[in-house]
Symmetry: C2
Subunit: 240 residues, 2 copies
Amino acid sequence: MKRLAGVSASTKTSQASEETRDSDRIVGLTTHEEVYRRLREQILYGGIKPGSAVTLRGLADELGVSSMPVREAVRRLIAERALLLQDNRRVMVPPMTRDTFEQILFARRALEPELAARALPKLTKKDIAAIEATDMAIDRAMRAGDTEGYMRANHQFHFSIYRKSEAWTLVALVESIWLQFGPFMRMAYGRIGTSTIEDHHEFALAAMQNGDVQGLRSAIDADIGQGMGFIGEAVLTRAG
Amino acid sequence: MKRLAGVSASTKTSQASEETRDSDRIVGLTTHEEVYRRLREQILYGGIKPGSAVTLRGLADELGVSSMPVREAVRRLIAERALLLQDNRRVMVPPMTRDTFEQILFARRALEPELAARALPKLTKKDIAAIEATDMAIDRAMRAGDTEGYMRANHQFHFSIYRKSEAWTLVALVESIWLQFGPFMRMAYGRIGTSTIEDHHEFALAAMQNGDVQGLRSAIDADIGQGMGFIGEAVLTRAG
DNA sequence: GGCCCAAAATTGTGATCACATTTGCCGCCG
DNA sequence: CGGCGGCAAATGTGATCACAATTTTGGGCC
């Protein structure tokens, strides 16, 4: 077994033969880890819509693996609250309520500006240049209306900053939070489009270049507030 | 199978697991859920020390179940960062470093006072009385030197407040954070004893009775700072 | 006596089978 | 024609087997 279809090569480290060579694990990735990453990407950027259900056998057949690694991956995503195990023991992408949304917004504002502030003194000129390049990629994707590209780049923009803080515990916390609102970002941008987005990344970049910690905090906070406000308006107008 | 110490039940979804000691959960518990809760308790209050390794088959034999539910439970705890999967694919309780500890402290201060503040308007007199009773149980356990009893009661004190906020997403986030520093609290109190603890619960109770939101925020914040400072001193004097 | 390599034991991972529960569908009866 | 009951398919859960990788152990060599 262990097929996992064509594109898997991109996410895998390298020399992964698609065949049943069974010594695939030399690269260090277990099957359930691969399944996990793929599902995680699907949830974060891609297709799976909130409210839609997934089945273990369905995913297993789709990915060409047995149900076992899928079970472990799904169990992990449930623990991270990226998936929801209902009472019927069916698994679905959690629907977003206004309450949940507001709590995520609060948690993001409580944690992410701090992460940026911690990262700032460790940022080299090279790092900042890379972040700037990512921001330009964001603009490009925005103008092109490439929703998934925008979301990937935006995720990269934020986490390439946060990761520099080397505060891995907090970063993991924030990653888990992003996993929870990812699907709704997708819904919002899919519904309204990316052309109307207006982020505060310029201010953040300027603050990074000037070593202005408070400015960076404010920029990140404003960016979160603006983006989440946008998503909230687009998705939760009368739901939840 | 499905022994789990004590009650041997039917082969599947034991209809009446009469144990359930901590929480009065209804039934319909799957085996891996039971294993999860038991392990979680072990990690939060009980025996498993940071740095010690666990094995799937070992746990399975110990609990009298097959390795399958143990796998799922362990996978879930790994996702919650209560356990750590090393590169060797061995599983252990994560060791605490000063960095991780400091980040947990920050996250707690960022989230828990807010949770208490949100809970305050929803607290009835009855709720406050129950919380007060829990605080007395804390004092009793402290004076008796009952470390585990103290930790259970302290956990209950905090989360019986937080849960009243009905901000389930934030509560889950904080639960996950507690899971991560639980073992160290245990180490600290086990090393130094519970007699020297001095919490800020009285102030919190007074603030709750007076409907004083800011006072409650401060009390919780102070309680976190004091308790975590104590643990940090006790455990991380020169480690990490 | 210490070190190194091979064999055995341990352990994590994945596949497959068995079974209870749930879901969905179709026909039956009112 | 519509609600209801039962039967078949689908699904989650748990157990067992197989296998590769790692760890441990034991014995022989220097």
